[in-house]
């Protein structure tokens, strides 16, 4: 077994390109070995912004020999009276055997010519050039570029290639770069070439040349540097794993320096400080140690990770500190300037900010959100205080968009609204709800917690859904520029979290009403719909109910069986919170022994009814118990009667588990019924009465789910 070192040296790759490229390098090499029958063990990858490296500790020196029997043409074609034909000679030569080595064997009842083929495994040195050439060519990046006069594409320009197997250079070339046995150290600190024959030499050589080539080692070093910097000032690095991931791939050898800035900047909200440090500079904020991370405030220090072992770290510190001060001065300027104008006074300027061209300005959106948020508070019976605060918060919710701070740092929308509201003297629940309006941002993100925040967050999303769908801006499969899928998911999660029993249709309708209320009569056409809308209220709400139900389905099938989810949604997809409860209850039921036979029975019920619908054979207006003939149908009707009452009671109490438990007791009577009763009796009265009973049964099941979809 031999060692292989394969390094692609490039100009600085973007941090986010490196980990996926390393994964491809490993997977690509592994599959090439498999395809070529080359035994391999101990594959790993390392890399920095300037190099993507594959290290193989144990690679077979030779491809495994191939020995197998291969089938040729049918015997009657290959041999004429036992003499080989042209077809046989062709087959033999294509397999590299003599014609007289061919044999005839029986395969699937047919006589076929066959050959025992033996292929000597090639030396790894013969195979590697092609394997590695194609490995580079096949690497993919989120964005790739050309450079110089070449046509090849890569994440950034490739400048050197190291390919060494068993101490010998493997000839590989890409974009005019030929492989060698020499790597390069840190760009400035160790620019001389480093000869490499073994993995150990490679890693040690680079280490001496100021390159920590293993990303995990760099991460450890970065974390310990940061930890030390923070500890020196009795602080703790603010946890930010994404930033660490990025910085790992911004340096080849991590060095650290702590910036100590003036305490007076701490008057800025922590989020502002953090964003200023992180988004432009990749600095690590430091908070006070000794309190829980949720409560800890920032202190006037931050950590910087840099790349070069410079002569005097103080110089780097001075330069970075000046940059940080300029950033924080900017932020402080925005903070002070912005607070001179109360949020309320910004509504006028918000009128000039277009939200959707067809629908109107951001200020109109805020006014509608205020109406909607207040109406929601009433529907959810949250009380007058909540209603008032929710209206106020929604009205002011978008005002921070026309502040300088949010213009500079869009990520701070909502947070600045909260801060500026507090500074204006707005009540705390108003400020909090302004911040919470954007929650949740994704499927696992935090939900709004305050009652006002829930109303405003819902209003924010419902207003966007109704407005965009109203003017035909529905998301396509590939693009969702207005974030409507996320908005729908947010609506679902908040309603579920509220455990509100109502229908989302009502929420959509009251949101739609706000469009008319706020725009007044002038904004509405003769049908009472907003002028700009292309669809009627009914169509719009139907489409949105459907859209939300589809998002709900995607959310649920992550945790529950798809057929259970579909069965529940088929029966009712509007009462969002109850959908969760029903799916949960039904999934529990699915494993009980009686469930599967019941589902089968119900499927028969549904099939019969569908056939009956098609044939328009009709059914009785209502079931007439006196018209029953068989005892089994009477028994089923009686069972239905008592179970229906239980189901109705359970449904009213939203006790879906009991409803399910009641329904499953119909299994026996349903089985008996189908065993002995012929629904499609010749006598129309008899038939129509039975069909009517099945219809009543179906209605009852549909209170919970269409279980014909299960199994």
């Amino acid at each position: 077994m031999i060692e292989l070192i394969f390094e692609i040296g490039c100009e600085d790759l973007p941090a986010r390109f490196v980990p996926p490229a390393l994964d491809q390098l490993e997977a690509g090499f592994r599959s090439r070995c498999e395809d070529r029958r080359v035994e391999v063990d101990g594959i790993r990858t390392v890399g920095t912004p300037r190099r993507l490296t594959l290290l193989v500790e144990s690679l077979a020196e030779k491809q495994e020999d191939l020995s197998e029997r291969q089938l040729g043409p049918p015997a009657q074609v290959a041999f004429d009276d036992g003499e080989p034909t042209g077809a046989a000679r062709g087959f033999a030569s294509s397999k590299g055997v003599e014609v007289d080595e061919l044999m005839v064997i029986e395969e699937d009842g047919e006589e076929r010519a066959a050959a025992d083929v033996f292929q000597q495994g090639a030396s790894i040195h013969e195979l590697l050039p092609e394997m590695l050439d194609s490995l580079i060519e096949d690497l993919e990046f989120p964005k790739s570029m050309r450079w110089g006069s070449g046509q090849e594409r890569f994440g950034r320009a490739v400048r050197w290639i190291v390919a060494v197997a068993d101490g010998q250079v493997v000839p590989v070339s890409f974009a005019g770069v030929e492989s060698s046995g020499r790597t390069r150290g840190h760009r400035f600190a160790a620019p001389e070439p480093i000869a490499v024959e073994t993995i150990e030499e490679y890693e040690e050589g680079l280490r001496e040349a100021h390159v920590v080539v293993d990303p995990d080692e760099r991460r450890d070093e970065i974390e310990s540097l940061l930890h030390r910097m923070a500890a020196e000032v009795d602080g703790r690095i603010v946890d930010d794993p994404n930033l660490v991931d990025e910085v790992v791939h911004l340096v080849e050898e991590p060095h650290g320096t702590r910036l100590d800035f003036d305490d007076s900047y701490l008057e800025l909200p922590d989020e502002v400080l953090e964003t200023s440090m992180r988004s432009h500079q990749r600095y690590f904020a430091i908070e006070e140690a000794g309190t829980s991370p949720d409560e800890a405030s920032l202190i006037a220090h931050c950590g910087v990770i840099y790349n070069t072992p410079v002569r005097d770290p103080e110089v780097v510190n001075d330069g970075n500190l000046r940059v940080l001060r300029a950033r924080l001065d900017d932020a402080r300027f925005f903070w002070e300037n912005d607070r001179e104008t109360p949020l309320e006074d910004r509504l006028e300027r918000l009128d000039e900010v277009v939200w959707l061209e067809q629908v109107g300005s951001m200020a109109e959106r805020a006014r509608r959100m205020a109406t909607t948020a207040g109406d929601l508070a009433r529907v959810f019976e949250m009380g007058d205080g909540v209603e008032t605060h929710a209206r106020r918060a929604a009205l002011l919710a978008k005002a921070d968009l026309v502040t300088q701070m949010v213009d500079e740092f869009p990520d701070l929308q909502g947070v600045m609204g909260r801060e500026y509201a507090l500074s204006d003297g707005e009540p705390a629940p108003v400020a909090r709800a302004i911040e919470e309006q954007y929650l949740p941002e994704g499927a696992t993100d935090n939900l709004p917690v305050s009652a006002e925040g829930r109303c405003v967050a819902l209003a924010e999303k419902l207003d966007a859904l109704v407005g965009c769908f109203g003017v035909g801006l529905e998301p396509s499969s590939s693009s969702d520029p207005y974030g409507l899928r996320r908005a729908a998911l947010g609506v679902i999660r908040i309603v579920d979290d509220l455990d509100w029993a109502g229908s989302v249709r009502d929420l959509l309708e009251l949101t739609h009403d706000a469009y008319i209320d706020v725009q007044g009569d002038e904004g509405a056409d003769h049908t009472g719909d907003p002028d700009a809308f292309e669809v009627s209220r009914q169509q719009l709400v139907d489409r949105l109910v459907d859209f939300i139900a589809r998002r709900l389905r995607y959310l649920l099938i992550e945790d529950y069986p798809t057929d259970v989810v579909d069965a529940v949604l088929a029966a009712d997809d509007e009462h969002l919170a109850d959908v969760f409860l029903r799916v949960d209850a039904l999934s529990g039921l699915k494993d009980e022994p009686d469930f599967e036979p019941l589902a089968l029975g119900f499927k028969r019920v549904v099939n019969i009814l569908e056939k009956e619908d098609i044939q328009a054979g009709g059914r009785a207006e209502s079931v007439d118990p006196s018209a029953f003939e068989a005892s089994e149908e009477r028994a089923l009707w009686e069972a239905y009667g008592s179970i229906r009452d239980e189901v109705e009671t359970a449904v009213d109490a939203r006790d879906w588990e009991s409803a399910c438990q009641a329904l499953i007791r119909l299994k026996g009577p349903v089985d008996d019924f189908f065993d002995s009763v012929m629904v499609m009796a010749d006598d129309p009265t008899l038939r129509q009465n039975r069909v009517a009973m099945l219809d009543a049964l179906r209605e009852l099941f549909w209170r919970v789910a269409d279980i014909s979809k299960i199994g």
Binding site: A15, M145, R156, R187, N307, T308, D330, E352
Partner: protein, 306 residues
């Protein structure tokens, strides 16, 4: 090192490397890329290496001379190397050494920053260069200009002169920079910043500017039809600057903005095609004769087969 020495040193360095030292083009523009020495010369097969200072106007960034870091007008030092040489980064690091930034004294880093200029139909991949955390240079491998794929690919190096000078002189306010040993940047430029901010934000006449935009646009189209590539290009630059003023004034809504950008881009795409056509008619004079002949023959063969 004072501001003018910085410029002179960079000019000397790149002249020694073999660059043509061109001069700014006398039409307002938002970036050095807009100079025909970059925008047009980046196109086509001819090799081209150039360096020059370019004054840039960004009406939206004007701050009445009150912000120590933001300016409505400033200077870029622009280098274009086509095709990008294999040692292009080494050349750049050496240029920093030439102005006294030693890479073993400072932390120099290349941080992903892809460049795009939608009005010019141009984009490329590259970095912003950090010098002890300060962004001092934009480095881009152009992939497309005027909607045309570039082959060969040029490297563009854009030095932010004020940033670099502030870094080197250790000043926190741009107006405190020494331009020469006796005159400051503020003494030369401050009043200009104040007046242009007032003009752009308070006094500029929207109707007049909208009218000018339309006129420049149609004049650019007319000149293009006449085969006057460079005059047409001037009118595109003028239209583009008028758009920047209207944009700074908030006179253009978000959706309208996209339409204006498309209009300018379609002019820029037209001029790129027209320029390439013209260079071809001239036989790509910056290429060695035999290479130009081969190149044109290949183009003709491609056109015939398609």
């Amino acid at each position: 090192m004072n501001f003018q020495d910085l410029i002179l040193t960079l000019q000397d360095y790149w002249a020694d490397h073999g660059c043509v030292i061109q001069q700014p083009w006398d039409i307002e523009k938002g970036a050095g890329t807009g100079n025909a020495a970059t925008f047009l010369r980046a196109l086509g097969p001819e090799p081209w290496e150039v360096a020059y200072v370019e004054p840039c106007r960004r009406p939206d960034d004007g701050r009445y001379g009150e912000n120590p870091n933001r300016l409505g007008s400033y200077f870029q030092f622009q280098v274009l190397l086509k095709p990008s040489p294999d040692n292009v980064l080494e050349l750049y690091w050496d240029s920093l050494r030439a102005i006294g930034i030693d890479p073993l004294d400072h932390d120099l880093r290349l941080v992903e920053d892809d460049w795009e200029q939608p009005t010019l139909g141009a984009w490329g991949l590259g970095w912003e260069v950090w010098t002890d955390g300060m962004e001092t240079t934009q480095f881009t491998y152009f992939q497309q200009v005027g909607g045309v794929e570039l082959d060969p690919v040029p490297a563009e190096i854009t030095y932010g002169l004020e940033r670099i000078a502030m870094f080197m002189q250790g000043v926190d306010n741009v107006y405190d920079l020494q331009w020469s040993d006796s005159v400051t940047y503020g003494e030369i430029r401050h009043e200009e910043e104040v007046e242009f901010s007032r003009f752009h934000f308070e006094e500029a006449d929207d109707d007049l500017h909208f009218q000018w935009f339309r006129q420049h646009e149609s004049e650019a189209e007319r000149l293009m039809d006449e085969g006057l590539v460079q005059p047409a290009y001037d009118y595109i630059l003028k239209a583009s600057h008028i758009f920047n003023i209207l944009d700074a004034r908030g006179a253009i809504s978000v959706t309208e903005r996209q339409k204006y950008i498309r209009r300018i881009r379609s002019l820029a795409n037209g001029i790129a095609d027209a320029y390439l056509e013209k260079r071809r008619d001239m036989g790509f004079p910056l290429m060695p004769d035999d290479e130009a002949r081969d190149y044109i023959e290949t183009l003709e063969a491609q056109e015939e087969s398609s």
